[in-house]
């Protein structure tokens, strides 16, 4: 049975600690890149800091983790890649990026409305000794290719291998948990199968407080955000009708 893996992120719980970003970088062997700027880094998981634009007692801020939304409908990056280096995995709904086929044309980066794709502007390099902390299950990417969140696909492989070794057809959901989900101290990020209606993430997705970013673009992202704050839910759509001031991290 094919799954539709997605996430539900409770923005009221996110403290902005950044553990998810560190876990993602560690899991995916992201190079430290001390020379990178905010716009040239490799942050497949990126936590944005957004305010409601007011000052003093009325000021509110929220932390929004942004990563690949694994869009389901006319996935913008899939249709534009000239050499099919991206595809939607039918079995899992994960949008898979193949760095070894990527030409580095960056068309997918212009296509993504969520800016969730990152380019390797430098050759990856780790300071001496850091190579001991690398994850052997994930290949490092070379310079000149695009990368993004792939839902810790290596962990899915491990879960499948484990299930196959035990003679089972389906993986045990407890075996496949992406790094960011595992690291989040407040369980703000939760991971599940949207195709399974009993899955808590699936139920979260249907809650009245749930929203998706830029849903009107009709890309059907599989990342659902949740907040009881109305001003946060309004961040879902573009600035149309709203004031211009926002802060971001």
């Amino acid at each position: 049975m094919s799954a539709r893996y997605g996430m539900a992120i409770d923005l009221d719980r996110c403290t902005g600690c950044g553990a998810c970003m560190v876990a993602c970088a560690a899991e995916n062997n992201a190079p430290p890149l001390p020379q990178a700027t905010p716009r040239t880094g490799l942050t497949s998981m990126l936590v944005r800091q957004v305010s409601n634009g007011m000052e003093g007692a009325a000021r509110r801020e929220v932390f929004i983790p942004i990563m690949c939304m694994h869009c389901e409908h006319e996935t913008p990056c899939v249709s534009v890649c000239p050499q099919q280096a991206v595809e939607v995995d039918k079995a899992t709904g994960i949008v898979m990026q193949m760095p070894q086929r990527c030409l580095g044309c960056r068309y997918c980066m212009t296509a993504c409305p969520y800016h969730a794709r990152y380019f390797n502007w430098w050759d990856p390099a780790w300071p001496a000794g850091m190579e001991k902390s690398l994850n052997p299950g994930v290949a490092a990417r070379m310079r000149g290719v695009v990368e993004k969140c792939n839902m810790c696909h290596a962990r899915l492989h491990s879960a499948r291998a484990k299930a196959a070794a035990a003679g089972k057809r389906e993986i045990d959901p407890a075996d496949y948990i992406p790094a960011c989900v595992e690291a989040c101290p407040t369980e703000a990020i939760r991971f599940g199968n949207l195709a399974d209606e009993n899955d808590p993430v699936s139920r979260d997705a249907h809650s009245p407080d749930a929203f998706r970013m830029l849903a009107r673009l009709d890309t059907e992202p599989k990342l659902y955000y949740k907040s009881k704050e109305a001003w946060v839910r309004e961040l879902a759509e573009s600035k149309s009708g709203r004031g211009p001031e926002v802060k971001h991290g």
Binding site: S79, V80, Q83, L103, G104, Y114, V145, S238, K239, G241
Partner: protein, 420 residues
Amino acid sequence: MASTAMADSRWIARGAERTPLPQFLLWLAPWAVILALGIYAAGLCLYYGLNQTNLDNRFAFGLWIFLDLGIIALGAGAFFTGFLVYILKRTELQPILNSAVVLGFICYSGAVAVLMVDVGQPLRAWFTFWHPNAHSMLTEVTFCISCYLLVLSLEYVPILLRNRQLRKLPSFLVFEHQLHKLVPVLAGVGTLLSFFHQGSLGGLYGVLRGRPFAFREGFLIWPSTFFLFILSAIASGPSFLILVTAAVEKVTGRRLVPQELFQRLGFISGVLLAIYVAAKSIDTLIWLNVTSPSVGFAPWQYYNYKPFGLPILFLEIVVFGLLPAFLLTYRRSAKRRGLLLSAAALACAGILLNRFVLTVQTLALPTLAFDDFLHYTPSWQEVASFGGVIGYGVIVYSLSYRYLPLFAQSKGENTHVSGS
């Protein structure tokens, strides 16, 4: 100056007047320096990586893509003139055909060279041919531009083989003769390929549903930008030919083509430009009122940021569109060389502005509600690389003009323009 007195006079067509070799080399020298600088800058990017540029994750496309699209649009004069001469039999444009082919070759080869530096892994360029994505406009662009560069090279070969020394080899001359007979076929193929890739370059932007500033509805799978890019390319191509030919006439100091030819090209350019302006106006209205609001982006959002306000739209459609269209088609203004050239320059500027807006403004504008309008300035490596293309182009064109029959001139009928 009698050409036989020069060191390279053996290579220059008999009866053709050319500047003495030392003076010619002096002309080439600064362009060679610019080319060398460009090669160095490109070398830095290939060696150290694209961190040498000011491109980043938000401005994935920048100066290079904008200028690539620009020179491909301006180089459309090559295929369009070939189409007019060989398919529509407008033989009055024949005198400019060779020059147009060389110019097209320069534009496309330059664009491909820059693209090879622009991508992160140039050695993987063949992947597009082995794993093509039929849904992607960029696949279509890659195939068509590669094939078309091949066609342009094949059209350049007969011109090359008519060099005074090369033609002395009988095999070259006979091959040139046979290839020349088949040039109409190549012109037809070139027209088909150009139609598709000029359009697909527009389609590149029009299909971006994630960027409502660029996204357009259209006909079947083709967004309206597909057709607008074709129209703007064939409108600006002849204008660019006019500008280049006028520049060559100024530098060499002689009339190279009948002056009516300029007016004829200008008229064609003007008519197509007028059609383009009409189509673009309709498209802009639909986009602002229907397409964009339907995905939650109000039109005023795009023009809130200085200096990319509404004046840019006005500039593109009226000052660089309607105005030159009028000047080029209205006979009394088209007759005056100064106005004709200015109008041609405005038309080309309009097309360049259009490509700039779709590349840079698209990426600068925020999509997520908490994003800002971003800024981008190209690094010197980016500017120098592109300068290298211009240096390359001037050198190739100058060499072609000196040693090859670019402009059909009856021997002994060269008129020297005073002041040269």
